[in-house]
């Protein structure tokens, strides 16, 4: 049935004349993905920013009519650069040519090169689209992706007397249909089944495990945005609610401010960070107001000792989205979450300010099993919180911040500034204070950890252009955690320093050197002591990347990564050497890229994270520990202007091990393979 639907959709598309164009993920986003994977121990599934960039590649932003929101949505420009560009355009009129970007203060060749695929200069009039245009000027895209692991893990094996732990097969499937007219209209359906989840049987008798649909209209008169179905809400600096991707500490040292539209369509496969319902943003002059309501089900463990429904409580919320085993399926959709909120803001040319409010009601109520580390976490049925946020530009300085209060009266504050101190020097400072008892379900404020609570810190960063071909970036972050946290059984703190030099001897060659030093505390087993104690940890990582576009066909990328970890228990280290090669066939619409990597780490503590090139819109980050080899090969075949296919083989071979993984995911043997196929049809 599914195959039939797909072919029907494909046949519908045949008369269309749209074209498919793919762009690789920007380096800053790669680093963000690596950091988020390291922080959450799971690869994020949100590909909205990547989709947006590719949509802009087909419908370029008109620089002479673009507003601040459109430029910000690229994810390439800092608020300082956006402000510089708008000031330039206001003072000197429309750009005559795309080459004029070089005259805008702060726009160096590297930034312009990143922007070029997504912007244009030409039609100088603000287009007025009719409803017909909304419905017909966008692109329809159908994405089909399947992936599977040939080696069966323990969860799929059965014995004579027991069924497999996982109810489904190892196939991972993802289907997405989307119509997208950037910054105007979007609608679509997303379906996903994780490996191990049943399909068309058992609890998933309707097929996929996860379904999502959305309809989104933007910039229609006073109607700034209207969302029906699944959407995300991103307010202020993320203290109250931020469900999209957000930059944190990383290679892009100046990209620390959360910015962009409050309402965004949700099209990703993740099953947690979105709302389901309706939302609207209205704009009148400098005033903008947003209201939203959502009703959806969440996964969680419910305490069923009380049979009376009103006496039941949930002991935890689960964000993984897995429904493979009987336990996971029993926890699926056990909580009902009613959410609502509003934002009112005033936007002027120099400043903007807003007030936000958010309300959640969980049924049954959340009552976590009390433990010292979680005693300040949210418990109960209702959570009401509010915040105010602002952003303002004064000369070469951009200030921003947010102050939030949760219903228990505990605050969270973040204040920052970005300054362009000289044509070749930028600086960023951000201070955050998140009370140990501050509570929010979807906060994503800037910080060392991924919980917007129990943290205070000061981050300072600078970006210096030493020479036309040499840039030096660095940051330092000093932080404290006033209360217990994961793997820290006492209040703790630490600091982190990063220095990075980027040398581009030519447009086609880049060398990146990066060093990160971190000092923190963690519970450690120390010799002759059976109990873990909080100990000081120092770690460092070094990365050297050489990228070269040899010619129109060949590109190479060499990477050396090292990590060092020192604690009371001893010192460990890890290394990875990887070589990437990309090749585009001249005669055929075929592209291949591949990697081979050797890695060695003393322990899990010196594990290395490496972003991988995968099929389009698939976030892939490897977590490497132990010793062995890893390789992958990706094939991309552009059948015609509308249809592109991908195939991927990924294998890791560990040396000196009999099994890989843990728990129900353990595999017998020393090889772990992943096969993927993807098809994207645009029409």
């Amino acid at each position: 049935m599914l195959t039939g639907c797909c072919w029907w959709l494909l046949s519908m598309a045949m008369p269309a004349t749209a074209r498919q164009q793919e762009e690789a993920l920007p380096a800053a986003m790669e680093n963000t993905l690596e950091n988020e994977t390291a922080g959450k121990e799971a690869v994020p599934e949100d590909d909205a920013d990547w989709q947006q960039l590719n949509a802009y590649a087909r419908h370029r932003i008109q620089l002479n009519t673009a507003d601040a929101a459109a430029l910000q949505s690229l994810g390439i420009l800092t608020p300082l650069l956006v402000n510089n560009f708008l000031t330039y355009r206001r003072l000197l009129g429309n750009l005559v040519s795309i080459y004029e970007l070089q005259a805008v203060p702060g726009f160096d060749p590297d930034i312009i090169r990143q922007m070029l695929p997504y912007v244009k200069v030409g039609d100088d009039l603000e287009p007025h689209y009719s409803w017909y245009d909304y419905l017909h000027k966008g692109d329809h895209t159908l994405l089909l992706r399947v992936g599977w692991q040939p080696e069966k893990s323990k969860g799929y094996l059965h014995t004579d007397s027991t069924l497999p732990h996982y109810a489904g097969n190892p196939l991972k499937a993802f289907v997405r249909y989307r119509y997208n007219f950037p910054r105007r209209a979007s609608w679509g359906v997303t379906m996903e089944k994780d490996a191990g989840e049943p399909f068309l049987k058992g609890t998933q008798r309707y097929g996929f495990d996860f379904y999502s649909a959305h309809c989104f209209i933007r910039n229609r008169g006073a109607l700034k945005a209207l969302a029906l179905g699944d959407y995300t809400v991103n307010m202020g600096q993320g203290l109250l609610n931020w469900q999209s991707q957000a930059y944190s500490k990383g290679a892009a040292v100046m990209q620390i401010k959360r910015e962009g539209e409050i309402l965004r369509p949700y099209t990703s496969a993740g099953e947690y960070y979105f709302f389901r319902g309706a939302a609207v943003t209205l704009e009148q002059g400098i005033w903008q107001t947003t209201a939203f309501v959502s009703l959806r089900r969440l996964d969680g463990h419910v305490n069923t000792t009380d049979t009376a429904a009103d006496m039941q409580t949930a002991t935890s919320l689960i964000s993984s989205g897995y429904h493979r085993s009987a336990t996971e399926m029993a926890a699926g959709g056990t909580l009902q979450q009613l959410s609502g909120g509003a934002n009112i803001r005033c936007n002027t040319r120099r400043w903007q300010a807003g007030a936000n409010v958010m309300y959640h009601r969980l049924t049954p109520a959340l009552e976590k099993t009390p433990a010292p580390y979680n005693q300040f976490d949210f418990s109960g049925q209702q959570l009401l919180s509010g915040s105010i946020d602002y952003a303002a530009a004064y000369r070469n300085i951009h200030f921003f911040g947010e102050a939030a209060l949760s219903s228990n009266g505990k605050p969270a504050i973040v204040q920052g500034l970005l300054a362009s101190l000289a044509p070749a020097a930028d600086m960023a400072i951000i201070y955050r204070y998140y009370d140990k008892a501050y509570q929010s379900l979807y906060a994503k404020g800037f910080g060392d950890g991924y919980r917007t609570a129990n943290e205070q810190g000061l981050y300072m960063a600078a970006s210096l252009k030493m020479h036309a071909r040499l840039r030096v970036d660095g940051y330092m972050d000093i932080f404290t955690f006033p209360w217990l946290k994961y793997r820290a059984s006492a209040p703790s703190g630490g600091k982190e320093y990063m220095a990075q030099a980027t040398w581009s001897p030519a447009k086609t060659r880049t060398l990146v050197l990066r060093y990160i030093f971190r000092q923190g505390s963690s519970n450690e087993v120390i010799p002759d002591n059976p109990v873990k104690v909080l100990s000081e940890i120092t770690s460092g990582s070094i990365r050297i990347i050489w990228s070269q576009q040899c010619n129109k066909q060949w590109s190479i990328r060499s990477r050396l990564s090292g990590s060092r970890y020192a604690s009371a228990a001893g010192k460990q280290q890890g290394w990875m050497l990887a070589q990437d090669v990309g090749w585009k066939c001249r005669a055929w619409p075929l592209g291949i890229n591949a990697r081979i990597a050797w890695f060695f780490t003393d322990s899990y503590d010196t594990r290395l994270y490496a972003y991988e090139s995968s099929v389009l819109y698939d976030n892939a980050v490897s977590q490497l520990y132990g010793s062995g080899w890893q390789y992958y090969i990706n094939l991309r075949w552009k059948v015609n202007k509308r249809l592109t296919c991908w195939a991927r083989l990924h294998q890791t071979i560990y040396s000196g091990v009999a099994t890989i993984g843990s728990g129900w995911d353990v595999i017998e043997g020393n090889k772990k393979t992943m096969l993927q196929c993807q098809l994207i049809h645009s029409f």
């Binding site: 020097a425 210096l464 000093i478």
Partner: protein, 259 residues
Amino acid sequence: MKQFMLTLICMQCILTLYAQPLLSPLGRDAGNYSYHFHDVYSANMHPAALPLLPGLSAGIYSERRFMLKDISLYMAMLGIPAGMGAFGLMVARFGNPLYYRQQVSGAYGHRIGHNVSTGLQFSYMSQAVQGYGTASALSVTGGTLGRLWQHVYAGLLIRYTQLLPLLYSGGVGIEASKDCLFSAGFETGGGTVTTGSVNMQYRIASRLGLRLGITTMPGYCHAGFALQLHTLHIAVGTGFHPQLGFTPSTTIIWQQQEK
């Protein structure tokens, strides 16, 4: 006696926590790796910076370390240009009548061409603890500063003190504009912990400047602002140590106008 015991305990804490060298305010040498940020205050840390002073200059500095009156630091310095070179004088006192450390320094720096300068400083240091007598030592400091290319400056300093091993320090400064300086430095030697520092100075307006910096081992931040009133330069700042707290400081410098 109570005051004496308190002083000793505080000193022990400071030394244990690698707070900072007793007679060295943090970040004070940052301006040396530049063209537009020299003053007599920074030049007394690096004798090679003396000939880069624009004219006769004098200044005083005071700080109350970790807000404790008994471990205050006072310094007075003088820079006297002389042809292609310049002389520098400095006196410093740290502590209280029961425990104190003093230093008297004389220095000379000389320009070698447009881009390089060198200098030498001789210091006499003494330390006294009531009831335990006085100890003293001589030290010699020599260094050089130079412009590497365009707006990038670097310097090196070697310090020899009686009874102590050689200490090496150095740094690099990037003058992004005449109003903005980023610098990074290190100090190491004799088996001591290597200390790194990063500093930023920025003039928001012609009369108002800001300063920010951090050091490692100890993890220490400092920040401040400075006002320029004709020939007078007034700087107020504070350092922050995570365990020991704040160190407020004030600097007043008179600088003869450049002819």
